[in-house]
C-alpha cells in the first residue's frame, strides 16, 4: 500500500502521524481513501472542485505530479506520495 507523507500543519488530522498508508493506484485514489479515514484532510488539501490547493506541492517518488499526470499520476504499491507546502528557495 502506498504511504503518504503528511506535512506538520496537516498532522492534526492524522493524530500527529507523519506517514499514513492508504490504498490506491493513483494519487486521486489514495487521497480519496485517505480523506475517507481522515475527514478533516479533504478541506485543507483540496479545492471544492477536487484540485490540489495552490500552495501545496504533491510529489510521487520525489517528482511533482503537475509534470506527470496531475492528480491521476500513478502510484506504485510501494510508492510514496509527499505533500509539501510551497517554500521560496534556499540558495538565494
Amino acid at each position: 500500500m502506498p504511504t503518504v507523507r503528511i506535512p506538520t500543519v496537516l498532522r492534526k488530522h492524522t493524530a500527529g502521524e507523519a506517514k499514513v498508508a492508504a490504498p490506491g493506484s493513483t494519487v486521486r485514489e489514495v487521497f480519496d481513501a485517505l480523506i475517507a479515514t481522515h475527514p478533516g484532510l479533504g478541506e485543507d488539501l483540496l479545492e471544492d472542485d477536487g484540485a490540489v490547493r495552490g500552495f501545496i506541492n504533491v510529489y510521487v517518488d520525489d517528482e511533482d505530479i503537475r509534470y506527470v499526470s496531475g492528480i491521476d499520476t500513478p502510484v506504485e504499491d510501494d510508492g510514496e506520495i509527499a505533500i509539501m507546502p510551497a517554500v521560496a528557495g534556499g540558495a538565494g
Partner: protein, 312 residues
Amino acid sequence: MRAGDIAQAVGNTPLVALPNLSPEGYTVHLKLEGHNPTGSVKDRVAAYLIREAERHGLLQPGQRVLEPTSGNTGIGLAAICKVKGYPLTCVMPENTSEERRQLLTMFGAEIVFSPATEGSNGSVRVAREMAAADPDVHMPFQYGNAANALAHYETTAPEIIADLPEVAAFVAGLGTGGTVTGAGKRLKAWNPAIKVFAAEPEYGDLVYGLRNLDEGYVPEVLDQGVLDSRIKVNSLKALTATRELAEREGIFAGVSTGASLVVAQRICRRLPEGSHVVALSPDGGWKYLSTGAYAPGDVKEIASAISGTLWA
C-alpha cells in the same frame, strides 16, 4: 582574461564533464559557477540587478540597496555595491552560516536577521516590511525582478550553447527560479527539444513546520511553464552526491550542486543514449565548511545533524 572591474569579471565559467559519476551511456557536465568573482552563480544576478536598476533610473548615486537573501546574492551584491558606492542591507535567516555573515560584514553590508523557522519566506517578509517603511531604499527583489532571469538568459545559457551545442537537458536548483527560467527559455529558444528540470531542495520539518498552507510563496520570477519536471531531493541524497563529487571527481561543491547532480543522474534515462546533460553548480563548498557537511563520518548522521541549516 582581463576585466575593467569586478562586475565585468562575472561569467565564462568552466563546463566540466563527470567521467566517474555519469550514468553509463550518458555524459553529465557541471557548470562550475563557483568560479565567479565572489564564488557563486549569484554574481551574474547581482550584476544584472544593479545594472538594470541603474539603466531604468531606479538607483541614484549613494542610494541604499535592500535585499532578502540567504547569502550568495547578498555577497555578490555586497561586492558590486561596495565598488559602485551603494550602501547595502541584507535580510537573511538567522541560521545561515558564519562564513556568509563574515563575508557580508567584510564587504561593508548591514545584516538584518529574520527568524530561522520562516526560512527564505521570512527574509522576504521582513525585507518587504522594511522597504515599505523606507521610501529611500531600493529593493531589487531577486524573487520578482526580471533582471534575475535575464542574467541567465543573456549569459549562462549562451555560454552552455557555445561550449556544448549538443546539450539535451539542463538541470538547476529551484531557489528564486531565475536560473531555470532564464537559462531554460534561452536553451529552448535555441533548440525546443532541450529538456529543463528543476531540482527542488526538500527542507527539514523546521522550515515546513510552521508554514500555513494559505501563505505559500511561489516566486514571480519562476515560469513553471519552462519546466519539463520538478524533482525534490532530500538532504541525505544531496549531501551524499556532494561528497561523492569530491571523492570521485575532485570537485568541491556546495550541497545544492549535489541536489542537481542527483536529478541529472535520474533524468538521463529519459533521454536517448549518448545524450549530454548540463547541471548547474551554484557554488563551491567553501562557505559551508563550518556546517560540518564535509566533515569525516557517517553521511546519514551528518545529514540528519545539519538538516536544519543545510539549505539555509
